[in-house]
């Protein structure tokens, strides 16, 4: 059956936990290429270099009534007194759902920037950016 995916199908999981009140996420994958063109060539040529994965997400700053606040948990990955350690990676899964099928991109990442704000007439939300480290750990798109 034909399927158009929308934000309704989107999910974001951090360390295996589906985040609540996510309003958007995005992922960018890029490949650095190394030029191998030599004198006498008429066309440029390249070999693959290293890959990079990064992205961002926005979560409402929301307390579900049981004390769970996923936005705060994500913010604390950077907003911490002790400083960020090498072990402070997160397991990110960016998901589109189709019935019982999950289309995932999974990666280990550092949360590299966070921001949140409060304003009159606005819902407070947290914006996080993440930088993948190492290879993707799963791709089922």
């Amino acid at each position: 059956m034909a399927k158009v995916y929308t934000g309704r199908d989107g999910r974001l999981l951090i360390d295996g936990t589906e985040q609540i009140k996510v309003t958007n996420w995005s992922l960018t994958g890029s490949l650095e290429v190394l030029e191998t063109t030599t004198l006498g060539d008429d066309q440029r040529s390249y070999v693959p270099g290293v890959q990079e994965f990064s992205g961002s997400a926005t979560l409402l700053y929301y307390n579900d009534g049981t004390g769970r606040n996923d936005a705060a948990t994500a913010l604390k990955k950077v907003l911490k007194i002790a400083g960020v350690q090498g072990t402070d990676t997160v397991d990110m899964r960016l998901r589109l759902v189709e019935g019982n099928t999950n289309h995932d991109v999974r990666l280990t990442a550092y949360i590299t920037s966070v921001s949140f704000s409060a304003g009159v007439g606005e819902v407070s939300s947290a914006q996080i950016s993440f930088q993948g480290t190492g290879a993707l750990t799963g791709v089922t798109i």
Partner: protein, 130 residues
């Protein structure tokens, strides 16, 4: 072992000069004395970008075989290895050293920059000497 037969990514050539001594007199005029009839000290810089480590190793091996900067060698003539002069559509003698009775030697060690696993960039500087 011949100089590696790889096509460079870029090449620069300095044509050198004849052995000339220049003096400035007190009245400002210049006196030049020509001490030889052969041009020398030409310089060629070759850059090999993003080559495999095995290819980069060829330069290190050749450098070692030439006893570093000690031994002279030919990098090209019309009949032999011309890879270093690829792209030059004039006479190969014009950017060589041999036509003036010179031969190239390494001006310094080849510079190897590792770009990623298995891929390196090598820069070689040669100087023509009599």
């Amino acid at each position: 072992m011949a100089f590696p037969s790889l096509r460079p990514s870029s090449r620069s050539f300095d044509a050198g000069d004849y052995p000339i001594k220049t003096y400035k007199t007190q009245n400002g005029s210049e006196v030049r004395i020509l001490y030889g009839n052969r041009r020398t000290n030409m310089k060629m810089a070759l850059s090999y970008e993003n080559i495999t480590d095995a290819q980069a190793e060829l330069f290190l091996d050749h450098y070692d075989e030439m006893k570093g900067t000690f031994t002279t060698f030919a990098i090209a003539s019309q009949l032999q290895n011309v890879a270093a002069k690829t792209g030059w559509e004039g006479s190969h003698d014009a950017i060589g050293a041999g036509a003036s009775g010179n031969a190239y030697r390494y001006e310094g060690p080849p510079q190897v920059q590792q770009v990623r696993s298995g891929i390196s960039t090598v820069t070689v500087n040669l100087i023509g000497v009599l």
